[in-house]
């Protein structure tokens, strides 16, 4: 698959994590979430509430930009809702779905967006965790997306816990459901041990490939299957929302 096709597959899988009536937020550097949210709203979730990182409520996306806060992405919004307000919704438990990134993720769902190496002597100073530390424990559905499924991303142990996973000291807070959508498949933690398992592999990929490119022993869900592929009308829809193919930049 070329990068556009992988992007479209991921966007489609991510959109299916949204249910109708959900209130959904995206953050910074988030072309795939923006397109997934907009796709969901135009297909199976017309009643969802879309809150944009650029502060628009339910905008019509017909073009996206290199900044996910670019205010042009608020076209036709019905109102503004600030990030501070959206975070209040999250504290109330009303923000149902959030999309978050990760430079590293481990089998328990801990994510690192802070530093590669140690915090005292960084090998790579990452840009910062943004909303992860705050939202991961309190958001009912967290969708982590990564375009780089490899054993450098899916690691035995994260160098730094930016966003907490299921094995952490405050696990009483972790009543959420976490899904990971990568360029290879969809993973989740729907087992009694709350450890990562393959839920589906994207067309053209396999359980074996995913396990091989994962830095720890990855379980397989009992009902594992191939990820549903986007049909041509979905692909057309995505294309219409991102004519400049900004979504491919995430695979840079």
């Amino acid at each position: 698959m070329n990068r556009t096709a992988i992007a479209d597959q991921m966007i489609y899988a991510m959109s299916r994590e949204i249910q109708d009536n959900d209130t959904v937020l995206h953050g910074i550097s988030s072309p795939l979430p923006i397109l997934a949210m907009s796709l969901a709203r135009r297909t199976h979730a017309p009643d969802m509430a879309y809150v944009s990182g650029a502060e628009g409520v339910d905008p019509d996306i017909d073009r996206i930009y290199l900044s996910s806060f670019d205010p042009r992405q608020n076209r036709n919004a019905v109102g503004y809702f600030g990030l501070q307000e959206a975070f209040d919704l999250a504290q109330q438990g009303r923000l149902k779905v959030m999309f978050l990134g990760a430079a590293q993720i481990d089998r328990h769902g801990n994510t690192n967006l802070t530093v590669i190496g140690s915090i005292e002597k960084p090998k790579v100073q990452l840009p910062g965790g943004a909303a992860s530390a705050f939202l991961m424990p309190i958001t009912p559905k967290v969708v982590i997306w990564t375009t780089r499924h490899s054993n450098r991303t899916f690691v035995e142990e994260v160098d730094f816990v930016t966003g907490q996973g299921y094995n952490h000291r405050s696990e009483e807070q972790m009543k959420n459901e976490m899904t990971i959508v990568s360029n290879l498949g969809v993973m989740n933690f729907r087992n009694p041990d709350r450890v990562m398992q393959i839920q589906s592999y994207h067309p053209g990929h396999s359980i074996e490939e995913i396990r091989e490119k994962t830095g720890f022993e990855l379980r397989v869900a009992d009902d594992v299957s191939e990820t549903a592929a986007p049909g041509p009308e979905i692909i057309d829809l995505i294309r219409s929302m991102d004519p400049d193919e900004i979504r491919v930049s995430e695979f840079g």
């Binding site: 910074i28 960084p122 930016t162």
Partner: protein, 273 residues
């Protein structure tokens, strides 16, 4: 209403070496670039910069040697990659950054804006960031006095100066922002000193005609400066868009050790212009 209309140069002098400074806007949008360029020209040093998700605004000050420390939720150039000066100087240890979570920073501003010494948040509890911020004294675990729920108390952040770029202002500092406001109103309330740069200075009567459009009332503002294109190369909604090509040039300049030339071209040569 007091008159607080000022020149770029005089307004920039309200920022002192070592001050804690926050900037308006978010990422590449409505950052107060013109005032920041003036700070570079004036050779400001040892600034402590705080914001939720800044970008080239912080990076250019870092690159020009104005900055000692950074507190940010995330500092990057979005899909264009790392913030190049930030990455260089944090990895070399020249600039110190320790945090990396948006909510505590927004909450710190909000506590200061509300006039209380701290404010609690949910979430955060399992993050390694917490231990760092507890050491720094900016966050700590507490229990709610009524419910006993474990929460994180975030210490108020009262910047010495907030620098905010707006669409229109009058000579008293009344200011209008169009489109997303980000945390700019909160920052204006939180900071000890507020500098507003505006695309255009308009008559006070313009504000009286539509008071609902006023974002920041005059009494929060200490200096206001007319600065057309004052957010460039960042966007100013309804006026101009981000110049992504300029930002690519900037990144290339840093990465090819030509940042001095970039500053000569885009910052210093403007002296007296």
């Amino acid at each position: 209403m007091k008159k607080v209309l000022s020149s770029l140069s005089d307004a920039a002098k309200l920022v002192k070496d070592g001050d804690v400074v926050t900037t308006g806007g978010a990422s590449f949008n409505r950052a107060p670039m013109e005032l920041l360029r003036e700070l570079i020209r004036q050779g400001r040093r040892e600034l402590v910069l705080i914001d939720r998700e800044p970008a080239i605004d912080f990076d250019i000050l870092i690159g020009a040697g104005c900055v000692a420390r950074v507190r940010a939720g995330l500092l990057a150039f979005e899909l264009l990659g790392f913030a190049p000066n930030f990455r260089k100087k944090t990895e070399s240890g020249e600039v110190i950054t320790k945090e990396g979570a948006c909510q505590p920073i927004m909450t710190g501003f909000r506590a200061a804006a509300m006039g209380i010494p701290s404010l609690t948040v949910r979430g955060m509890l399992g993050s390694d960031l917490l231990a760092i911020t507890e050491t720094l004294g900016s966050q700590r675990e507490v229990e709610d006095p009524f419910t006993g729920e474990k929460l994180i108390a975030v210490r108020a952040i009262e910047p010495d100066v907030a620098i905010i770029h707006v669409h229109e202002a009058d000579e008293h500092g009344n200011s209008r922002i169009e489109g997303p406001h980000y945390e700019d109103v909160t920052k204006a309330k939180a900071a000890k000193t507020v500098i507003v740069t505006a695309e255009k200075i308009v008559a006070t009567d313009e504000f009286r005609k539509n008071p609902a459009a006023t974002s920041i009332p005059h009494f929060l503002v200490d200096a206001v400066v007319e600065a057309p294109d004052g957010a460039y190369p960042c966007s100013c909604f309804n006026r101009y868009d981000v110049d992504y090509d300029h930002i690519r040039e900037y990144i290339a300049a840093v990465n090819n050790d030509r940042f001095g030339e970039y500053l000569d071209e885009h910052v210093y040569k403007r002296i007296g212009a």
